[in-house]
Point group: C2
Chain length 260, copies 2
């Protein structure tokens, strides 16, 4: 039999919180590939990007692992997805994990959603710690979303990343289309896109207005065939190689000509 | 006399909140260059990255502009720096701003601080909306930090960006060293770095532990002469051209070879 020490240690987190069905799906897939620790936010953290808690203390709670698979250890943290990864690496895991997985997110992290995504915030955090990390998202916000069509793709990608790792400072943002069939996988860039931001205005009982964010994502380059939004629309899974380094290296020389 | 319509419209935000001295310094500098709207968080939002508020309503409050300069309009928002920019663009400003400035931040946003920075989250947000945007930070957390040595540099950078704009999908992350002399400006990349994360453990009155983030930033490439951490250590201001697009475009082909 394989010794426990030979099995990969897999860290799983998300941004929808410990109660979300998607993280149970991911743990059930991962438990056959290694020893799984789930460390996820106590409450939903969508849109939390790489936010971390600096001015408040954090709590950690261990849970009975109902619905996560037999051999999975489950913890929740009273903070953001990034807090979960930091506490997992520093306080919770018995050793450095071999891989970090995040999701399965309820909703798209394609296009410009990448920069706001708490899912990808956690993935970037693990990546900066030198751990091969992958975010999985299904473009369906419903809590009863059907993840079954994503399972063979998640298994294949996860197995390859466990076997081969990823280059340093590179993580993966994987999105799946909704529907009964996924035609294949495309490795692409994030589509330039923005949200048609509209704030709905309400008036409180004291006559004071308040605002709630709404809107929809606009693909600024619908004809570009090398983007995630293009292929998701055509029933392909998309893989965007992402990086936590936000320097625009190509622009350094031109900007230096102006400012130095 | 110059018509009001000819004066640049300048949006200013920060992540330290509307009460922080740094944002008053920035408004005082900017008021000579255009019509200034300050739209900043009601409470400190350090480490909030590109987090936005999706599951709660937002309030907007107009303030008497004490300490901001004579012709400055001042608002606060009950959310993150990104919320401030979104509400400013959608609900508060009379028209699209010509430039967005953020800061002056109390503390460094150099190295890997960039990805966690609420200051740069707001700057990235304005950049994605197509607005030339610059984040200014002084590497001194103190609320009584002395910003005077930074003033001529902020004036020069802001004037040039108002006059010439910036390329699309490119914003600037400007950091200033502490000290009486700044020797010049260097246009560089973010240093690869990480935080030596340690959580201090406390025990509450019920015997349950809780954790508070601490640690210090480690430059992983102290000898690299093309990074912000290198030049800040040598009393230079640093300008990092940054981008909201986190795709690692250079890696697409190699990753496609593995996964498609």
């Amino acid at each position: 039999m394989m010794n426990d020490m030979d099995r990969p240690l897999i860290l799983i987190s998300n941004d929808d919180g410990i109660e979300a069905p998607g993280i149970r799906e991911l743990a059930l897939i991962a438990q056959d590939m290694g020893d799984v620790y789930v460390v996820a936010p106590m409450t939903p953290q969508s849109g939390q990007s790489s936010a971390m808690t600096v001015n408040a203390p954090l709590r950690v709670k261990q849970h009975v692992a109902a619905g996560f698979g037999g051999n999975v250890k489950v913890y929740s943290v009273s903070g953001t997805p990034v807090d979960c990864v930091k506490l997992a690496l520093n306080r919770i895991l018995p050793r450095r994990p071999d891989i970090m997985l995040c999701g399965i997110n309820h909703g798209s992290n394609a296009g410009n959603n990448l920069i706001y995504s708490g899912t990808m915030g956690a993935v970037m955090e693990a990546c900066m710690a030198g751990i091969a990390s992958v975010g999985y998202s299904l473009t369906d916000h419903a809590m009863d979303a059907n993840f079954s069509v994503t399972v063979p793709f998640i298994k294949e990608i996860t197995r390859r990343v466990i076997a081969k790792g990823l280059p340093s400072a590179l993580c993966l943002n994987v999105n799946f289309p909704v529907g009964k069939v996924i035609k294949g996988m495309k490795v692409v860039r994030s589509a330039a896109s923005h949200w048609s931001e509209e704030y709905r205005e309400y008036i409180d009982p004291h006559g004071i207005p308040f605002y709630w964010l709404t809107g929809s994502q606009i693909n600024e380059e619908p004809g570009a065939t090398d983007t995630d939004l293009y292929w998701l629309d055509r029933q392909y899974a998309t893989i965007v190689p992402a990086t936590p380094d936000q320097t625009n290296v190509a622009a350094i020389e031109a900007i230096a000509d102006v400012f130095e």
